[in-house]
């Protein structure tokens, strides 16, 4: 079994379904970034889900779909490059700069492998290619 990150289109599909179950072969993971982007599309009438469908769908799946979020602990862990003695050597080189869109940076911060992340480090490699 491996962890697989859902795209916005897949999250939209899942939230629009009447039922959702995790597949046996993969563990599906969603980041809060995909939910925010989908919520924004739903609000603006650019999704097949309207805002209420979105909230209903979210309520329905949230007990079985893990959502990777960003809190101060994750931010502090992910945002910096650290030396061997754990002192801060600078900003993390993979953060991306102003040439990248903000959702890319947020996704990287959330999924950066750390001692507390439970998904495979390869998942971060995949998201870097998005």
């Amino acid at each position: 079994m491996r962890t697989r990150l859902l795209s916005i289109a897949e999250v939209e599909e899942i939230l629009g379904c009447t039922e959702f179950q995790q597949p046996s072969e993969d563990l599906l993971l969603c980041t809060i970034v995909e939910l925010v982007l989908l919520a924004d599309l739903a609000k603006k009438g650019r999704s097949r889900l309207d805002w209420h469908d979105f909230l209903r769908g979210l309520e329905k799946v949230k007990s079985c779909l893990p959502i990777a979020s960003l809190d101060v602990a994750c931010l502090t862990e992910s945002m910096f490059e650290r030396s061997d003695d754990y002192s801060v050597a600078g900003l993390w080189s993979q953060l991306g700069g102003p040439e990248l869109s903000p959702d890319v940076t947020l996704r990287r911060l959330i999924l950066r492998p750390s001692a507390t992340s439970w998904w495979e480090p390869e998942l971060f490699g995949e998201v870097m290619a998005w």
Binding site: I67, D71, C74, L75, M79, F80, V88, G97, L100
Partner: protein, 158 residues
């Protein structure tokens, strides 16, 4: 008294002034590019108060600060200062998470706003997160210089 929620520009100014202070947990703020006299008055009251009110910023504001580091911070402080601040924020400061609990407030933020000249401007998702962070608190105002968010707040007050 009321909580203050900072967007990226006002967060950068608050951090700049904190790190120039002898004790970053007890700074005295003064007006600057993104902090008006009125904002400074409220900030200083919160710093000196009993901890019931806070200055808050979303993790997204910090992520944006890092993404545009050279443009926004421009060498005014070093990453290790920011790391220390995040590790141990002053008691009057709260770093707000980006998680599913914010989504209901995010949904309440209008997707566009009518400006005073009659044009309709979209509210981008990133700006909506700052606005929603303010809306998700009992009583808070967003400290921003973004004309669309200022107009949105103006319309909400009417």
């Amino acid at each position: 008294m009321i909580d203050l929620v900072l967007d990226v520009g006002s967060l950068a100014d608050v951090l700049r002034q904190c790190f120039r202070s002898d004790d970053y947990t007890r700074p005295t703020f003064c007006s600057s590019r993104f902090l008006s006299e009125e904002t400074v008055r409220l900030l200083n009251r919160i710093v000196l108060a009993d901890g019931r009110y806070v200055v808050a910023a979303s993790v997204v504001a910090f992520a944006e600060l890092a993404r545009k580091w050279d443009q926004i911070v421009a060498g005014d402080f070093a990453p290790y200062r920011l790391a220390a601040f995040l590790q141990a924020p002053p008691e009057w400061f709260s770093v707000e998470p980006l998680d599913e609990t914010l989504l209901p407030a995010f949904g309440l933020v209008s997707s566009s706003v009518r400006m005073s000249d009659g044009t309709i401007e979209p509210i981008e998702w990133l700006d909506a997160i700052h606005y929603a962070t303010a809306c998700s608190r009992d009583q808070a105002i967003l400290i921003t210089s973004d004309a669309r968010l200022l107009q949105l707040m103006q319309l909400a007050i009417r």
